[in-house]
């Protein structure tokens, strides 16, 4: 187990290093001059040249990468070109917001998806299964920006139940912003819900067909107990991995959702950074998102290993 952990951490570090290189190179190639972005459209050439030198933009790219990575790792993420703000507090605050939305989404979507998946699998080839399967396939086809707009139209404008806008105030308590989070979370939930439900169904069906289920049934264990005590434990193990993968999906989804609802998360900040060619901000957001994704995968793998005696003890 320790060996497994060490190995996984090594891979994580390697992946992050490669990703950081990729992010850095890509952002360096972006068109647009950071200096003119900082100083605005009206700034003159001398001011621009001076700022470029201050930012070290005139140095060779490998040197810039080394400096940037070194500072990043030591916690100095620099200042945003676009706003002149320190990036780390900005990004950590938005990360918190995004995680709050992601957490709400996962908290709703995952249990619901697992439940639907199990219901579909247990009723395989009967009407509840057909309903859930077709429903999830349909929902999988709805892009977040369509779902979001539809939900706004329906719940905000027609019914007037929920706010159309999720620009929550910084530091507001979760309970007080909950109403504003409902529509964005619902939008992000739908796609994930379908995805996880489908995989859960497949996983439960696969387990149901394993010989140990027959062994359990032949011991005279009740159906419900066979399902809960035997099948689900094993079927939901793979779901952990699925959830981690769908976390990546969620990150993509949140970029769209946060823009549709104007939610102050990392996704909206990223589009802002890209729009403004705010390189340090883009780099920081991307690395944070990638790290979050990688950590989610790592945690999922470790959890899997911990729960699966074959890996834990093997």
């Amino acid at each position: 187990m320790t060996r497994y952990l060490a190995r996984r951490l090594g891979f994580l570090a390697l992946t992050l290093l490669l990703t950081s290189l990729l992010v850095f190179v890509v952002t360096q190639l972006l068109p647009g001059d950071p200096a003119s972005i900082i100083l605005g459209r009206e700034a003159g050439p001398a001011a621009l040249a001076q700022l470029r030198a201050e930012l070290g933009l005139d140095r060779p790219v490998p040197v810039q990468y080394g400096r940037w990575l070194g500072r990043f790792v030591s916690g100095d993420w620099g200042e945003s070109y676009g706003t002149g703000q320190q990036i780390r507090p900005l990004v950590t605050e938005r990360l918190g917001n995004s995680l709050r939305l992601a957490g709400l989404t996962l908290a709703v979507a995952i249990p619901l998806a697992l439940l639907l998946g199990v219901i579909a699998a247990v009723n395989a080839e009967r009407w509840p299964d057909a309903l859930i399967s077709v429903g999830s396939l349909a929902v999988v086809g709805l892009p977040e920006f369509v779902t979001g707009l539809v939900l706004i139209q329906l719940f905000s404008f027609q019914l007037g139940w929920l706010p159309a806008n999720a620009s929550v105030a910084p530091g507001a308590a979760f309970v007080s912003v909950l109403p504003q989070l409902i529509l964005p979370a619902a939008t992000a939930t739908l796609v994930m819900l379908a995805y996880v439900a489908r995989l859960t169904r497949a996983s439960v069906l696969e387990e149901l067909n394993r010989p140990y289920v027959r062994t359990a049934v032949l011991k005279g264990i009740g159906q419900r107990r066979v399902l809960t005590r035997h099948v689900l434990g094993n079927a939901l193990l793979p779901a952990i991995t699925v959830i981690a993968i769908s976390f990546g999906w969620l990150i993509s989804g949140l970029i769209v959702v946060e823009n549709v609802f104007n939610y102050p998360g990392l996704g909206r900040l990223l589009t802002f950074a890209i729009d403004r060619r705010d390189l340090p901000l883009m780099q920081a957001i991307t690395l944070v998102a990638v790290t979050a994704f990688a950590l989610a995968n790592l945690i999922a793998d470790l959890l899997y290993a911990l729960l699966d005696p074959r890996i834990r003890l093997g």
Partner: protein, 695 residues
């Protein structure tokens, strides 16, 4: 076992009447089992024997009401002690499962929940819904009684932590804990090594028989059933063909299928020279293509027109002996010959003693990388010494049989010989020239002359390519056949392995296992190979098919003057085919020499134990003596001394554990052994025991 239940006499046991089982619905429905009658009295063991596709597992699961979705039972009746099993409603069914029946499946590992400790799963047999309240002592007693030495540790283990033998013991314990009236065992030893199998069979004999439980024992092996059962039921293509007590069935089988089956089984002590196998031609009809008349008519040597017209019923041919053949009386009387024709015999003994292939001091290790953490904790290195200084030689035109249990290194050796997994040390000499350790570095000619036929017929052929394309490629690549002539050459090749030329257009998925293996053999011969390695090449085949392939191999060897290295875990098959034999244990050759000598009069204690464990298709042979204790040790932790020392019944003392045994040659030069005991002493020890074997 102290079981409180009515005395056996007052109970009927399992009774099956006219039972049919079909898969699918409507017009696509196919019958897997048709109109079967069966009776298993309490306290007796009934063997259900058949080749693959005979419907034996379907039948076994049907009486348990444990068929997969999509199967339909009926018409027919199944009763256990008079209770109609097929009429049971869900709640009754649960009670039936909980208290009256149990199953020991073929594969113990997937049949246990991988994420629950074994103890909890055992407890569920006692308290299905409240395993926490089960009596631990009772479980421990049961584990102890099925031969598990350390019940407390085992209870806490997860299934994957147990060895194959332990897993099956646990499954048996799980079944017995429920004190079933009916125990169904579905090929419980088929995937186990022969020494483990012997131990499990011994366990079944000791612990299950005579407890009043009715046992339905499903097996493809006539040999296993012979040593275990009171009565045998032979199933063919979903129909019952013969039912008899063990002794008469093996002494005088009445159905031509049973006769053919027994004639197909290779036996230790009867080599190809003494008794050629008589395979059953043709193939088992699929469920969709069953004839109107006798189901065996198409393959029967004693068939007459009436057989094809009408299905024969079960005739009582003696006490408890029933047979579904209209001509059984003629067979009893000997007025007709119901045996399959024997193949022409080719045997001559003039094989020159030139050595074709010589392996010297071949060594191979597999290492699993150790992490820093492992090193700090001084965990054992995970290195497997798969082959240790293996010396072997293959004589021209002869067959060298290489036997050993799983993990003995026999496949590793084969792959090292052909260069797929290069050896770490040692030397191969082939036809006088040194062979490079890697196939990629060998000359085209060497590759051509040294070929291999693999274990699994399902994987041996590229699934997307037609048989013809596979063979053509082999011809063009290795034999240098001209592309234009390849078509003809393919037809010839197919013919040589007894397949019609139209097989060239088929894909492997359309072939049966035997047919695939024939094609694989044809491919090996396509290059004009002079030495061919067979790695478990007949192991996955049904016995009647296996017999045909063994005969084919024999014929091809004579025709092509080829030399075979034949690897198998099945001693009977090796005994049948091999001229010389070598016994491998944990990567070392324990004993080698001419097959007639080594297998008839084993010197090495391991060879002895191995032979003793082999079940014989002959109830009079009796059960194996004293199954070998213990299990194959972890190959990563083999001691410096004799690898067999941990299990050897003749272990001398510390010397065996500490010193590598010397290589010794028997006085007559027929046995080359690795043992601390003097050959002369071994010969003395063996002599009285081996007397019963026909020389």
């Amino acid at each position: 076992m102290s079981v409180l239940r009515p005395p056996a006499a007052s109970r009927d046991g399992l009774d099956v009447r006219g039972l049919s089982v079909a898969y699918g619905r409507g017009p696509d429905s196919v019958a897997a089992v048709r109109d079967v009658d069966l009776h298993v009295p309490p306290g007796s063991t009934v063997g259900l024997v058949g080749e693959s596709g005979s419907g034996k597992t379907t039948l076994a699961l049907a009486v348990l009401r444990a068929l997969p979705a999509g199967a339909r039972i009926g018409p027919g009746r199944v009763t256990l002690d008079g209770d109609d099993v097929l009429a049971m409603q869900p709640e009754e069914l649960r009670a039936y499962w909980r208290t009256r029946v149990a199953l020991v499946p073929q594969d113990p590992l997937p049949s246990m929940n991988p994420s629950h400790p074994v103890g909890r799963q055992l407890a569920e047999s006692l308290q299905p819904d409240r395993p926490g309240q089960a009596d631990r002592d009772e479980i421990d007693d049961m584990l102890d009684s099925v031969g598990i030495g350390d019940p407390r540790r085992i209870r806490r283990s997860y299934p994957f932590e147990l060895s194959g033998g332990q897993q099956q013991r646990v499954m048996i314990a799980m079944a017995l804990l429920g004190r079933p009236e009916l125990l169904v065992m579905d090929e419980p030893t088929s995937n186990l090594d022969v020494t483990t199998e012997a131990a499990i069979l011994e366990l079944v004999r000791e612990r299950v028989r005579g407890t009043g439980t009715a046992v339905l024992y499903v097996s493809h092996s006539l040999a296993v059933v012979a040593s275990l059962c009171d009565q045998v039921v032979v199933l063919y293509a979903g129909e019952l063909v013969e039912r008899a007590p063990v002794e008469p069935l093996y002494r005088q089988p009445l159905h031509p299928y049973t006769i053919g089956l027994l004639d197909s089984v290779p036996r230790i002590g009867r080599s190809k020279r003494q008794a050629p196998l008589r395979p059953i031609p043709g193939r088992i009809p699929s469920a969709a293509e069953r004839p109107a008349g006798c189901i065996f008519a198409a393959r029967c040597p004693a068939v007459e027109d009436a057989c094809r017209a009408q299905r024969p019923g079960m005739d009582a041919a003696g006490e408890d002996h029933a047979v579904a053949c209209r001509r059984w009386q003629e067979i009893v009387a000997g007025t007709i010959d119901a045996r399959q024709p024997a193949p022409p015999s080719f045997h001559d003994d003039d094989g020159a003693d030139t050595v074709v292939l010589r392996a010297e001091r071949i060594d191979k290790r597999f290492t699993v990388r150790r992490s820093v953490v492992d090193r700090l904790l001084r965990r054992p290195g995970s290195e497997v010494h798969a082959l240790r200084r293996v010396d072997l030689q293959l004589r021209h035109g002869r067959t060298l049989g290489l036997v050993g249990e799983s993990g003995s290194g026999k496949s590793t050796f084969a792959r090292a010989v052909v260069g797929l997994e290069p050896a770490d040390a040692g030397r191969f000499t082939f036809l006088g020239d040194p062979l490079d350790r890697r196939v990629e570095r060998r000359s085209r000619d060497q590759v051509r002359r040294l070929q291999m036929v693999f274990q699994s017929s399902d994987e041996a052929l590229s699934p997307q390519r037609s048989v013809g394309a596979t063979l053509r490629r082999a011809l063009v690549r290795l034999a240098g056949t001209d592309r234009s002539a390849a078509g003809e050459a393919v037809a010839t090749l197919l013919e040589s392995v007894a397949l019609t030329p139209d097989y060239a257009e088929r894909r492997p998925g359309e072939l049966s296992g035997g047919e695939k293996q024939r094609v694989a053999i044809a491919r090996a011969f396509a290059s004009g190979a002079e030495a061919i390695l067979f790695d478990e090449s007949v192991s996955g085949l049904d016995v009647s098919v296996q017999a045909a392939v063994l005969n084919l191999l024999d014929r091809l060897q004579r025709e092509h003057d080829a030399s075979y290295l034949f690897i198998s875990h099945d001693l009977a098959v090796v005994a049948h085919l091999a001229d010389d034999v070598a016994v491998l244990y944990l990567g070392q050759v324990m004993e080698s020499g001419p097959a007639g000598h080594v297998l008839a009069r084993p010197y090495h204690p391991y060879t002895e134990a191995l032979l003793a464990a082999v079940p014989r298709p002959d109830p009079s042979a009796g059960p194996a003596r004293e199954p070998l204790a213990g299990e194959l040790p972890d190959p990563r932790q083999v001691a410096a001394g004799c690898p067999f020392a941990t299990r050897c019944p003749r272990v001398l003392g510390p010397v065996c554990h500490e010193q590598a045994p010397p290589q010794q040659l028997s006085a007559d030069g027929d046995h080359r052994i690795r043992c601390h005991i003097e050959p002369a002493e071994l010969e003395r020890l063996q002599a009285p025991l081996m007397g019963e074997e026909p020389g």
